[in-house]
Amino acid sequence: MEKVTGLGQFEQLVLTAILTLRDDAYGVTIHAKVQELAQPKAVSLGAIYVTLDRLEDKRYLASWFSDPTPERGGRAKRCYKLEALGERALRESAATAKRIWDSSVEAWGKEWERKWGRQWGKGTT
């Protein structure tokens, strides 16, 4: 089995964006999704390209060109999908994040967990 190297935070965001976007994952949509996930940090499109290249080189992603479309000035989209290796790396990262979360709740208590949920507008686990 091929070895999976640890993911950086930005790489996790990009892989998560591609995972959620499914068949519609290309530069612009990935950027929008990562921007949403990385709030309140601003993310540049260039940083997305750099990370996509790196992840593709690591064989976590595969890419292909779609048909050209008029809303892009007749240019094709480069679409991305997660490879098995990328999925495994993301799963491992998610498991680590879950362990961090559980430990934090254990250390800071249930009150902090409720506060966190209110602040970020998501339900607690």
Binding site: D53, W64, F65, P70, G73, A76
Partner: protein
């Protein structure tokens, strides 16, 4: 107003788009221009978007096309060329200040030129390889000219610059030809991993980079032999210790490159 008119109205100015296209590496042009077009709101926003995006795309492309072994080999070759033409005698001159600073700036600029040329190359044609070597040497010479203006004590004569540049151009061109003989190492794939290239016919069409599909010419083997022979002779015959060290380093880096490349090629053969 039809939808087509609306699409035309929202298009970025043609000249601006052409400038961005020119600055974007060909291997990434299609998707970068398309994405910028899709995000277009106003010429200012488009220019700002491109100004932030394109440098990062170029940097990423440089990273993808750079090979540490190649960079080392070319750095040594450039250092040797600019040092050898400098008229230093003895090993002391090899690390002599402030000339060392001058040579290092030339080497760094030359390497930057070569890396940029790699990022923008679309094929391994003789023309593009010559252009690559010329870009590297031109940038090295340009840096020397600028340095001469800022620090006159580091200036060298126009003739010396011409001679060093010519020497560097010859050596780099020969090394590039030689590299093709031992596996195309000096001009790595423009687009990235083998896997992505295999799955990506459009990018393949853009870059046409598969070195294995191209036969090795007799000239390339001749150039490889020449490089090794020339530096081997320099190493064996030169009375100047610094020149011998330089020649030995280049020979060592070249041999290391040949061996590592042949190992890589043999390990990737079954997948091809």
């Amino acid at each position: 107003m039809g939808q087509g008119d609306n699409v035309t109205k929202q298009a970025p100015p043609r000249k601006l788009e052409m400038i961005v296209a020119l600055l974007t590496p060909p291997a990434r042009r299609e998707e970068v221009l398309g994405d910028l077009y899709e995000r277009y709101k106003s010429p200012t926003q488009y220019a700002a978007d491109a100004a932030v995006t394109v440098p990062l795309v170029v940097a990423s492309q440089i990273r993808r096309t750079s090979d540490p072994g190649v960079v080392l080999l070319e750095a040594l070759a450039l250092y040797f060329c600019f040092f050898a033409g400098d008229g230093h005698n003895g090993a002391a001159g090899f690390l002599q200040q402030p000339q060392l600073l001058r040579i290092l700036i030339e080497v760094f600029s030359g390497l930057l030129g070569l890396r940029l040329a790699d990022a923008y190359m679309t094929s391994r044609s003789a023309r593009q390889l010559s252009l690559r070597a010329a870009t590297g040497v031109s940038l090295a010479c340009l840096s020397q000219t600028m340095l001469s203006t800022a620090r006159p004590d580091l200036a060298i004569s126009g003739w010396a610059l011409f001679r060093d540049g010519g020497f560097a151009l010859t050596i780099l061109s020969l090394m590039q030809m030689a590299s093709a003989a031992y596996g195309g190492g000096l001009t790595p794939a423009a687009a990235g991993s083998k896997r992505s290239r295999r799955e990506d016919p459009a990018r393949n069409k853009n870059t046409a980079f598969d070195t294995r599909s191209r036969g090795r010419s007799l000239w390339e083997y001749f150039a490889a032999a020449f490089v090794f022979l020339a530096f081997g002779l320099l190493f064996a015959e030169s009375q100047n210790r610094a020149v011998r060290i330089g020649a030995a380093l280049i020979l060592f880096a070249g041999l290391w490159r040949v061996l590592s490349k042949s190992r890589t090629n043999s390990s990737t053969k079954p997948t091809n």
